[in-house]
Amino acid sequence: MIIALIILVVIVLVGIGFYNSLIGKKNQVNNAFSAIDVMLKKRFDLLPNLIETVKQYMNYEEGLLGKIVELRTKATTANISNEEKLDIDRQLSTSVKGLMVTVENYPDLKANNSFINLQTTWTESEEQIAAARRTYNASVTDYNNAIMMFPGSIFAGMMNYQPINLLANTEEERKNISAKELFNN
């Protein structure tokens, strides 16, 4: 009787452990995404200054600047999903990279101190977002492993936890930036 009771207590404790661990991992995924969100907000906040600085020198790139302004407005809209936000960020990243390539044609702008500061801050934000995305992917892998492996899979089934997709680089991101292509958009 006592042995059966001990076994039952052990099973209940292990069950609680797995349940809490799965909840912890799921929360970790959400937490990791919120880190990306914070980085994205920091990056979107850089754009108005960047546009203002660049506008004074670039007279012939209105199409490119207009596209960046439009994307930034979309990104700061209240009701957009996480996936949409990441998609806008991808497009913004490509457009700003194009802008940085175009700057080569404007030596005065290239030497402007505020522009240099904005450029370095932008590069830093790129690295920070990349780091946040890798952290998110590590959390997702941890979570997916936990819900797919036995006995976590049993609890995950009961809790209706589904695997989450990793954030992968799109084909567009893997390509080298081409200024010509950007101008033709």
């Binding site: 990791a32 920070q128 780091a131």
Partner: protein, 311 residues
């Protein structure tokens, strides 16, 4: 350089001759005393002559030490700076100072704090935009065991080798530690991940994507995102390459926007030879190689790329 070495060679010969004389006197003194006692009849004569020889030996030995320090000083002040200047004009050596014990503890390279610490031969300079320095050090901790003969102290080495320190090319606020992956580190990482309740430190294990890096190192950080901001895929590759060129696995810490790297080594560098001529070609090769290696870390880790907000 040649005239400096020729002058130093004379000093070396003097030190070497004195050392040999002092050892000979001590050896003859001991032998005379032992022979006198063994013969029985010449015990007093043996003790007197042997005693005189021993005293002469010790006097010579103390003279040798003074001469040796003078020779060592000339070597470190005269030869090493010349070697440094052939690599980079900015390089300087302070052979009396090294990484302070406080800096060593603050670097958090090792979890144990030293009970006995010695550091010297600090080389510092600027490579491109990055200031750096490195020092030789020996840090040990003590354990005490109670035996039937009383208390016994045991000294264990934390690190004997070189600690390299450089200004990192990115700003960061937290602490990220990269240590060799041994059984203890692997078990510690597993426990603090599986049972966070047992993790008293604010550092958590960081799982990274590079399998080779993960096989060699265990990473801990106070900030998971910041750890990946520092340890980019390219940086992990570079660290693996750097580690491959070392006999023992290196340890790293990223703290206060600086990087510390510990290189365990078996040899003492920047020390002049006593019994080998310094005029033989290549006697400075090992010292030069270690300076070049340390200087090259800035390039190897690409620390001069300052495209981020830190300039």
């Amino acid at each position: 350089m040649d005239s400096v070495l020729a002058d130093l060679e004379n000093q070396r010969k003097e030190v070497s001759a004195l050392k040999i004389k002092s050892y000979l006197c001590i050896a003859i003194g001991i032998l005379t005393i032992v022979a006198g006692i063994a013969s029985g009849t010449f015990a007093i004569a043996g003790a007197v002559i042997g005693g005189i020889m021993l005293i002469t030996g010790f006097v010579l030995w103390s003279k040798t030490n003074a001469k040796f320090y003078q020779y060592r000083h000339s070597f470190k002040q005269g030869v090493i700076p010349l070697v440094l200047k052939t690599i980079d004009e900015s390089l300087e050596m302070d052979y009396t100072n090294g990484l302070s014990e406080k800096e060593f503890i603050c670097s958090q390279l090792f979890s144990k704090e030293p009970d006995r610490y010695r550091s010297e031969d600090q080389v510092s300079g600027i490579a491109g935009k990055t200031s750096f320095s490195f020092s030789e050090l020996h840090a040990e901790y003590k354990t005490v065991t109670q035996t039937k003969n009383g208390r016994q102290e045991h000294w264990h080495t934390i690190l004997k080798g070189i600690v390299f320190y450089a200004d990192f090319n990115k700003n960061f606020n937290g602490v990220t530690i990269v240590r060799p992956k041994d059984m203890g580190a692997a078990l510690g990482a597993w426990i603090s991940k599986a049972m966070p309740i047992f993790n008293s430190s604010d550092r958590t294990p960081v799982r990274l994507e590079n399998p080779e890096f993960e096989k060699e190192f265990a990473t801990y950080s106070t900030d998971q995102v910041e750890a990946r901001y520092i340890l980019t895929p390219a940086m992990m590759e570079r660290l693996c390459e750097l580690n491959k060129r070392c006999s023992y696995t290196i340890s790293l810490s990223f703290i206060g926007s600086c990087v510390f790297i510990a290189f365990p080594l078996n040899k003492d560098y920047f020390e002049p030879p006593v019994y080998k001529s310094i005029l033989t070609s290549g006697f400075l090769n090992e010292d030069t190689e270690v300076i070049r290696f340390m200087y090259g870390i800035i390039k190897d880790l690409d620390l001069n790329t300052r495209i981020w907000t830190k300039n």
